[in-house]
Symmetry: C2
Subunit: 322 residues, 2 copies
Amino acid sequence: MHLPQCVELYEVGPREGFQSETNPIATEDKITFVNELSNAGLKHIEVTSFVSPKWVPQMADAEAVLAGIERVPGVTYRAAYLNLQGLERALGNPVTLDGSLVLSASDTFSKRNMNKTTREMLDKLPEWIAAYQAANIRVKQMGFMASFGCNFEGYIELEHLLKLMGDVINLADSHGEAIQKVKLADTMGWANPEQIKRTVCTIQDKWPELNIHLHLHDTRGLGLANVYAALQEGLWEFDTAIGGLGGCPFAAVKGAPGNISTEDVAFLCEQMGIDTGLQLDSLVECAKLAEKIVGRELPGHLAKGGLLSNIRPNSWMQVQGS
Amino acid sequence: MHLPQCVELYEVGPREGFQSETNPIATEDKITFVNELSNAGLKHIEVTSFVSPKWVPQMADAEAVLAGIERVPGVTYRAAYLNLQGLERALGNPVTLDGSLVLSASDTFSKRNMNKTTREMLDKLPEWIAAYQAANIRVKQMGFMASFGCNFEGYIELEHLLKLMGDVINLADSHGEAIQKVKLADTMGWANPEQIKRTVCTIQDKWPELNIHLHLHDTRGLGLANVYAALQEGLWEFDTAIGGLGGCPFAAVKGAPGNISTEDVAFLCEQMGIDTGLQLDSLVECAKLAEKIVGRELPGHLAKGGLLSNIRPNSWMQVQGS
C-alpha cells in the first residue's frame, strides 16, 4: 500500500457540470471558464458534449465553445458523446479522443440513459471499434457507468463488473485492439472506500497492466474518502469538477452534490505530499467563477474553508520532515 | 490495519452547532431537537455549554434545556465548559462529566480562545484536578484543541503535541489520576488523512492503553477522508454534528462547513459494515429538523443524496458476501 507521487485530475466541470444546469449559460462564459481552467494548470479538460441539442440544449454550442477557447500546449481538450452520431461530430472537431468503449454496469440504468440494455450496448461495440479504426484511433480505453451501484438495481456485484470488463477486453482483442485503461464511474454515488479498495485490488490482480481511472460523485458525502482509498491502492487518475459542479438527476433532492470537487481533491493530494501540478489558489478562483456563472453556491469546500497557504506558508510535509 | 466492528458517535450539534448560530434558537426547539437525537439512537449528546451568557447568549438557557429534555436510559447527556466557573455550573446540573483536562496545542489559539497561553492553562490544571476530586469525579480524559493545525500558527508539530500529552499524563499521575482517553480536536480543519494516521500510530506506540477520540471539522472537505483514515487505525469514537452543524469563526468565509456530519459519518460506517447503532433514516429526519431550526441549508450530504435503503434494500456487505 503506497500513495502515488503525483496524480492527474481530469476536469469535467464544463461538460458534466454545466450539462446539469437548467439555466442557459452563455457560450462566452463557457469559453472564459475553460481558459481559466487551463490557466490553473489543469491538463485535461472535458469541454463539452456532442449530444442532441433537442435533449440537452445547454450543449448546443459545442462546436462554438471548442472553436473559441485558447489552446494551451500540453493540455488535452475533450468532449463526451453517447452514441455513434456523437462520435461522428467529435471526429470533426479539435478534441482529444481516447477511443473509449463505454457500457453501463447496471442494465436498468443503461436502458434509461441509453435506451438500450447493457447486452445491446455490448453487441454494438464492434461498430464503435470500426468507427474508431476508420478514423485511425486506437481503442485503448473502456468505461463503465454505475460501476459500484445504481439507484434502480442497488449494489452492482463485482463479479458482474469483472465479467463485463473481460467481455470488452476480449472483444477489443479480437479486433486487434488492446485495452490499457478502464474508467469506473460511480455515477449515482454508491461507492464506499472499502468497496473501492476491493474493486481496485481485484482488478489489479486480474489485469495487472490495466490502468484504473475513477469518476466519482459526492452524492452522499463519501467522495473524498473514496479518493483516499483509491490513492492508497496507487490510483492516480480521477475525474473531478471545479466547485463540485454537476449533480445527480437520480438523487433524493434536486441540487444534491455532484462530482467530487477539483480543488478539494487537489487539496487532499497536496496536503499529503502528492503532486497535482495545480495551483490551489487559481482553482479556488475558478470555483468562485463557476459559482458566478451558474448563479448559486457550489458544494466544494476549499473556497469556503480557505487555503492553508494564505494563513501560514508551511506544509505538513515540511513539518513531518523536521 | 483493521476497521473496528462498531463505532460510537458523540453528537455535538446542540452545543457546538447551535453555539455558532447568531439567530437566537428557542429553548423549546433545542429540547425537541435533543429528544429527536436520542430517539435516533445517539447514545452521547452534548446538550449545551456552560459559558457566560454575556459572551454566548445562545447558551444562556443551558439549565432550562437540561431540565426540559427527556432522559432516555443509556444515553449520556453532556455539556461543555471552558473554565472553572463553567465546571462549577456543570457540577450543579444533571450532566455526565468525563473529568477532562483540556488544553490547546496552539499557543496563539489558546490566548485567543481562553485568554491564557498553553503554559498558563497547563499550570492551572492542578486546580481542575482538585475541583474534579472534590466532586468525586475521576480525571480520566484529556483533550487538545487545534491538535493538527492552527490558522495562526500553521501545522502543529506532532512532537509538540506528544510533549503536551506527556505533561498532562504525568501531572494527572502525580495527583493519583490515570488518563485513559485523549480527545484530539481538529478545531480549524487542518488535518489530512496521512497526518491522522501518523499521529494515531505514534500515540498508539507510545501509550498503547490510551483510547483516542477524534473531534473533526470538515472546513476544507477532508472530514470523512480523515474519519476513514482513523477507522483504518482502529479508532471508534468520534464527535459529529447532525447535518454538519457548526462552523469555524476562523474560516475564509462565514458559513464555512462545520463539524463532520453525523449522518454522513454513520452512513460511511454502515456501508462498510461497521455498526453505529443508529437509524440512518432518523438521522436524516434530524438533519431536516436542524435545517428548519437554524433556517438554512446545512452541508451534510445524506439528506440530499438520499438513503440507499430507500432505493434498494440490499447492502454492499451482503453483495460482497455473495
